[in-house]
């Protein structure tokens, strides 16, 4: 009987001490958290993509409240940014949303230089002569960009080429960093023409290895009424600030490599 009594008493005392100790400690060590931080955290997407330069959405929310960091660093929509402005009591304007775009229409179209059966990853295949494609600037189709996307915005179509869902993409740029071929770029959401080839090679060579490669004919540059297209480092670049979205370059391109993002058109 004694044994049971002593055990029960000792345990009760321990439990009581622990309980009282904890409740006292929670009073002593209580920290005040600014309620604005948690309401900002609810507005932020919560994906911790670190596109804003802070390690997590919570860190960014705290920086906005405590250090008065600008509220438009997050790449989410303008409506949400004005919501943040309301919480903070300041005027906040969103920038135009950037979304990822794949600057390669070839991918599986371009000729192969060998058969690969190793680790299914773009990074891995790049160790072997820069990939199995004869084109040095071709999408390798293993979808490193798909697995790195924290928002599930990149998927692969039937030909293993990555497809970006502009609705889901927030432009954090993870895929841009991940792509070993450097063929993913961020473009403004409303942008229309997308030159889907990044090859530096000469036209003749491109023609021999890929049906949808840029052959440097410069027709788009000549036809553009706004001078918005230029050849920068041997690649067609569209200046989206000058572009009026007329779509002439899309029509004129003889190889159909300038895609119309408004149509989200697929390659032949």
């Amino acid at each position: 009987m004694d044994v049971i009594l002593v055990s029960v008493i000792i345990l009760c005392v321990c439990g009581l001490l622990a309980g009282v100790g904890l409740s006292v400690a929670s009073k002593i060590f209580s920290i005040k958290v600014d309620p604005r931080i948690s309401s900002l955290e609810k507005i932020l997407p919560g994906a911790n993509c670190s596109g804003c330069g802070f390690p997590s959405c919570f860190a960014y929310a705290r920086a906005m409240v405590e250090d008065h960091i600008e509220p438009n660093l997050c790449v989410m929509g303008a409506d949400r940014i004005s919501e943040i402005g309301k919480v903070l009591g300041i005027d906040a304007e969103g920038k135009e949303r950037l979304v990822a775009a794949i600057r390669c229409g070839g991918g599986q179209n371009s000729a192969k230089q060998y058969d690969y059966s190793g680790i299914p990853s773009c990074q891995a295949i790049c160790f072997f002569d820069g990939g199995d494609s004869k084109c040095e600037f071709s999408c390798l189709g293993f979808g490193d960009c798909v697995s790195v996307c924290p928002f599930g915005a990149v998927t692969r179509d039937g030909r293993n080429a990555p497809v970006v869902d502009s609705q889901l993409c927030v432009g954090c740029g993870r895929c841009v960093e991940e792509c070993p071929k450097d063929i993913i770029v961020l473009v403004p959401e409303s942008a229309r023409p997308l030159p889907a080839c990044k090859t530096h090679e000469k036209g003749k060579f491109v023609k021999s290895i890929c049906p949808v490669g840029c052959i440097k004919c410069r027709i788009c540059i000549r036809e553009c009424p706004e001078d918005a297209i230029a050849m920068v480092d041997d690649i067609i670049q569209v200046d989206y600030e000058k572009c009026t979205k007329c779509g002439i370059c899309i029509e004129k391109c003889p190889r159909n490599i300038i895609l119309d993002r408004w149509l989200e058109r697929k390659h032949p």
């Binding site: 002593v6 622990a18 100790g21 904890l22 920290i31 680790i119």
Partner: protein
């Protein structure tokens, strides 16, 4: 001093808590998907094990032994460790937000980890003194960190490997854990005189 070193090596390698005593397998498999989180988990476990060794040694020496209730040690230690971890968490949140961010969610997760309880019970069973208990707890935590970090490193590589569908995920991880335990078995008899 030599004695303490022997304790360190014994718990760190020879009798590694995860790979030889098979304690704390839950976080070992649960939090070893990426090296970063494995490292945080390891630090948190080391931290808690060291502090738990200190506190439970005191509880045992000044409460359980004088009242002749050593048979209560398991349940009392569980209570003490759980309370202690909560207390430490509150304290850290107040004093060092940086440390809190490093330990993160892992600190409360290990409140009832069997490896932590195992350290404390072994301290009593082996009749360790105060310093010995602390060294024992600390090195057990380091051993856990070593095991979980190795596991995480291997599992990150496994992501790229072509594993048969039936073996993907936990099955292959368990096999990897088994092979690691087997190789750590090679340390057995290191200090047998």
């Amino acid at each position: 001093m030599e004695h303490l070193f022997v304790i360190f090596i014994t718990v760190f390698l020879v009798n590694n808590f995860v790979l030889a005593k098979f304690l704390g397998l839950c976080p070992f498999l649960g939090v070893s998907k990426s090296l970063g989180s494995a490292k945080s988990m390891g630090i948190a476990v080391t931290f808690v094990m060291t502090i738990a060794s200190v506190v439970t040694w005191c509880v045992n020496r000044f409460l359980l032994v004088p009242y002749h209730v050593s048979y209560l040690k398991t349940i009392v230690f569980i209570l003490v460790i759980a309370t202690l971890v909560q207390l430490v968490e509150l304290f850290i949140a107040k004093v060092s937000p940086t440390l809190q961010r490093v330990l993160g969610i892992y600190l409360p997760l290990i409140t009832t980890n069997c490896a932590v309880l195992g350290v404390c019970i072994l301290n009593v069973q082996e009749e360790f003194g105060f310093i010995e208990s602390v060294v024992h707890g600390f090195s057990a935590g380091l051993g856990f960190t070593l095991a979980i970090c190795m596991m995480a490193g291997i599992r990150e590589r496994l992501e790229f490997a072509r594993v048969p569908a039936a073996m993907q995920g936990f099955p292959i991880s368990l096999i990897v854990g088994g092979l690691m335990a087997l190789s750590f078995f090679g340390f057995q008899g290191f200090f047998a005189h």
